[in-house]
Symmetry: C2
Subunit: 204 residues, 2 copies
């Protein structure tokens, strides 16, 4: 696992990602670059949607919109960048069936506040951390130079994004509760990827 996906807490390092991505996923992804690119566009669009949804849900939470609005703008910038590569390659955005990953994570968010807020931050952070890990792999293994450059550029800010979600959680919640919820949700996240989804997706 890339060390940069682990915030340092006191003397120890908190792990976002329990399992590394498999070689099978890398092979599936680099063999289907256009489908991964299309799915990646959707991921950036959805990430902006998640940030905006949290801004809407917790509209009166001081200091929340101040960091989530710039994050949403950055996700939209990434979305536009991926979309322009798709367009340049003769493709438009089109619907794509989602892998079960996102809905498995969403189902594990606690329904009751204030833990719902904590879990929402952590799930958003976990998805950012996994995206960062996989973009790192694509930036190394993709045989397509333009795509390698794209992923290398984007992953710099993706690393900042899970830091944003970590900070939002850490500023508002007891550290022990935070770590216990992160451990539980990180387990769900890694388990959701154990059986690889057959269609090539960022979160297959």
């Amino acid at each position: 696992m890339d060390n940069s996906t682990s915030p340092i807490v006191g003397q120890s390092k908190i792990r976002w990602l329990i399992n590394k991505t498999s070689e099978d996923w890398i092979n599936l992804a680099i063999s289907n670059p256009m489908e991964i690119l299309l799915d990646h566009a959707h991921c950036e669009r959805k990430a902006a949607g998640v940030a905006l949804q949290l801004m809407f849900r917790y509209v009166s939470e001081p200091g929340l919109s101040e960091v989530l609005s710039p994050l949403a703008r950055e996700e939209l910038e990434h979305f536009e960048r991926v979309l322009s590569i798709l367009n340049a390659r003769g493709r438009h955005l089109q619907k794509l069936a989602s892998p079960p990953y996102g809905s498995i994570l969403a189902k594990n968010i606690c329904k009751d506040e204030p833990i719902r807020m904590l879990d929402s931050f952590l799930v958003a952070g976990l998805i950012e951390a996994r995206s960062h890990e996989r973009m790192t792999l694509l930036s190394i293994h993709s045989p397509d130079l333009e795509l390698r450059d794209l992923y290398a550029d984007l992953l710099k800010s993706e690393a900042r994004h899970f830091g944003v979600y970590w900070k939002l959680a850490d500023e508002r919640f007891d550290r022990n509760i935070l770590i216990s919820r992160l451990e539980a949700l990180a387990r769900v996240e890694s388990d959701a990827l154990v059986e690889m989804h057959k269609e090539p997706r960022m979160h297959s």
Copy 2:
């Protein structure tokens, strides 16, 4: 009415706004600058939400995300700018009861496609046009220099925004249908403001 809120179509000019904003509204707004500022922050946030919602609903529509994503980013930039003035004046974002304006317009959007898409563009354009008209008034009449500058800056891009919605509609729909729907919705928009909402809001 400010001429810049009227796209020129052939030899004639299409009117977005049927009625001018009253002096009563100007007086209400400049007497309650903080409440208007707070409501304005919400308007920018919601405008970004509308653009994103249309991107989600019409995800496979070629050329739509390409213009709505940068528009959403610009709305978020405006939101952050208003929020930073609020913060500098010791205020946080907080919930504010909405005036009936938005829901009256939403109720008048046709439920069936493809007219639902056309109406959605036109309603978004009408709200942008009204915001532009009112920001113009605030940039002239506000006694607060910082706020005058804020509104003067923001309204430049607001003018572009209703142009974006006009173009999205004009590229996809028959001109006669477009003009007939715009006339009907513009009537709803102006009527919604005839009786002034008692609380100071951008769309009181």
